[in-house]
């Protein structure tokens, strides 16, 4: 069986992919290390039978509450973990074999870890990666000048990394990580802790890279603005299971409540009446009270009806309607799902 040719027609093909972990019992936590070694391990399911097919050039957002299996997925895709069940092909390779060809095809960029050396300028790292990934010099030069341009790096590449700001470091790191022209990018919180400008620069760069090179990108982020801006496809994990796979707009529709109505009650006597009206529209929906305002989430098509019912109350109230952000919708979804079993 030829390892390379199978599954080469798509970027990622996972069938029934599962991954269990063995963890030492919690009860021995904090006791002597040799007790922890002797404790019988328990099996925890990190990822349960996931089936996923990602085409070349897709931009996929991977979200889920902490402990949902995002990191496990990224580790499986990059070959750091062996699957416990099912099969996985990435760019036609079996990732866990970590063949040189596979390693050259992928990149992992993590927001909270950097491979830059503190005391050296990033240009040194570019040179190192040119050698490590055996990048031909003309390709290297062209790509580097393009990255410097797109990421607005300029002379920053000659400044020792310890003198750079967090945002500058993140951009340099991204350039180092993608210098070998990977066909699959695995991004783990690439904008973690960055200011808005740096976030936007990185986002813009990733979009360009995906469009220009046709590389596949899997983005794990808690930053929904990143996801919304970049990802055409959303995958939601919860407790190791895949609970949604589709477009962002469909996800929003599916969640239903995408609008938020705020009712400011100027006359206290009207409050009861307002509550009465709202309860009539959506008996199940809970009204939140915040800063003297009543807040109600609703489906977009219900907004008109609700406003109509509130209208007779006239001058005594103020009504404003907002679109819910993806962040709010996701947050609500996660809250409904409940806290993960850690």
């Amino acid at each position: 069986m030829n390892d390379i040719d199978m599954g080469k027609d798509c970027a990622i093909e996972a069938v029934g992919l599962g991954r269990d972990y063995q963890v030492r019992s919690r009860r021995t936590e904090g006791t002597f290390w040799w007790r922890r070694l002797l404790a019988r391990p328990e099996v925890v399911r990190g990822l349960r039978e996931i089936t996923l097919r990602v085409e070349h050039g897709e931009f996929l957002g991977l979200i889920g509450p902490n402990g949902a299996g995002k990191t496990t997925t990224v580790k499986l895709l990059s070959g750091l973990l062996h699957p416990t069940s099912g099969s996985l092909r990435v760019q036609g390779h079996r990732p866990a074999a970590r063949s040189p060809g596979f390693l050259k095809d992928i990149a992992v960029v993590m927001g909270q870890h950097s491979q830059l050396w503190w005391e050296l300028p990033s240009s040194c790292m570019f040179d190192l990666h040119r050698v490590l990934y055996e990048i031909p010099t003309p390709v290297f030069k062209e790509r580097l000048s393009e990255f410097i341009d797109l990421l607005h790096l300029g002379d920053l590449v000659d400044v020792p990394v310890r003198e750079l700001s967090l945002g500058q470091r993140a951009r340099c790191q991204l350039a180092v990580g993608l210098l070998h022209g990977p066909k699959l990018l695995l991004l783990d919180e690439p904008t973690l802790g960055l200011d808005v400008l740096a976030q936007r620069q990185i986002r813009e760069f990733l979009r360009r890279y995906n469009k220009d090179t046709g590389a596949t990108v899997v983005l794990t982020s808690h930053n929904m603005a990143d996801i919304k801006y970049l990802c055409a496809r959303l995958v939601v994990l919860h407790q190791g299971a895949l609970i949604y796979d589709g477009s962002i707009s469909e996800f929003e529709e599916l969640r239903g409540n995408t609008a938020q109505i705020r009712v400011g009650v100027k006359e206290a006597s009207l409050e009861g009446e307002v509550l009465e009206v709202l309860r009539r529209v959506t008996p199940s929906a809970a009204c939140r009270q915040e800063d003297g305002q009543l807040i109600l989430k609703a489906r977009r098509d219900e907004v008109g009806k609700i406003v109509g019912l509130l209208a007779p109350l006239g001058e005594g109230i103020e009504v404003s309607i907002e679109e819910l952000s993806l962040e709010d919708i996701v947050l609500e979804a996660f809250e409904e799902l409940g806290a993960p079993k850690q």
Binding site: L37, P100, V108, M110, L120, L128, L132
Partner: protein
């Protein structure tokens, strides 16, 4: 393949150079207590001039501390960040690069220790010249001097392997800096970093001579001072080579088992 490791070595040379001012200070920090030790031993020996302590004359003792310091600089390999990378998950970034992790750190160790040895040697030159002028230096001649070179190279490799093996235990033990510090002090004694192992007496010395730490520092040092006979030197080189083989096997096992464990525990 070698080009990759050579590139890492060169990069580390560059990074090491950044700290050259730090070095001057850290070497001064070494020289001051060293001078103190030399004065201490001079006082001990002055009680009965011309005496020997377990075969060590004052010249031997002076030379020992100088050489041990130089060799110690070349063979130290304490890369705390390896254990750190294992514990905090940064290892992920390293193992997906097309270069071996252990080899990567070997190249970095050379890039740190080689210039460090050269600089220390340079700073020690006046002291060495001074002691030689006072006839306070006893250095072996002929074959021993020649065999010092391979024994030093072997000691560098050995030091790296010992340091790597101890860092790789982080796969199993988690956070244990205290244990690590204790190990460093113990192995410091066993390799002769504090005093010549001959002072322990023949019994303890011969026990120590079965351990790898002995060959990390003490063996090349006593070889250079001319304390050992030719057959002893030959045997020592053989044991050094044997320890290297055993430790290479140990590091390989720790790495592959450790990775397997890392992969089974995950996060």
């Amino acid at each position: 393949m070698m080009a990759k490791y050579a590139a890492v070595f060169q990069l580390q040379l560059r990074a090491t150079r950044v700290y050259r001012l730090n070095w001057v200070f850290s070497i001064l920090c070494v020289i001051v207590p060293l001078l103190g030790l030399l004065l201490f031993w001079r006082a001990v020996y002055s009680a009965s001039p011309g005496s020997q302590l377990r075969g060590y004359t004052i010249r031997d003792m002076m030379t020992y501390y100088l050489i041990a310091r130089l060799v110690g600089d070349a063979v130290s390999a304490e890369w705390w960040e390896i254990g750190q990378n294992i514990r905090d998950g940064k290892l992920h970034l390293f193992v997906i690069r097309p270069i071996g992790y252990v080899g990567y750190y070997f190249a970095r160790m050379l890039g740190t220790n080689v210039p460090s040895l050269i600089v220390t040697l340079g700073m020690f030159t006046p002291i060495i010249v001074g002691l030689a002028a006072l006839d306070m230096l006893s250095v072996a001649s002929g074959w021993s001097l020649l065999l010092f070179v391979p024994s030093l190279i072997a000691a560098v490799v050995l030091g790296f392997l010992i340091g790597m093996a101890s860092q790789l235990t982080a796969f199993w033990t988690g956070e244990m800096q205290g244990m690590e510090s204790l190990r460093r002090v113990l192995t410091g004694v066993l390799m002769g970093a504090y005093f010549p192992l001959d002072l322990l007496g023949p019994g303890l010395r011969s026990i120590a001579s079965y351990l790898p730490f002995y060959y990390q520092l003490y063996f090349p040092t006593e070889l250079l001072i001319g304390k050992r006979t030719m057959p002893q030197v030959g045997l020592g080189l053989a044991i050094q080579a044997l320890w290297i083989v055993l430790l290479v096997l140990l590091v390989r096992t720790l790495w592959s088992r450790g990775m397997r464990r890392y992969q089974s525990v995950g996060g």
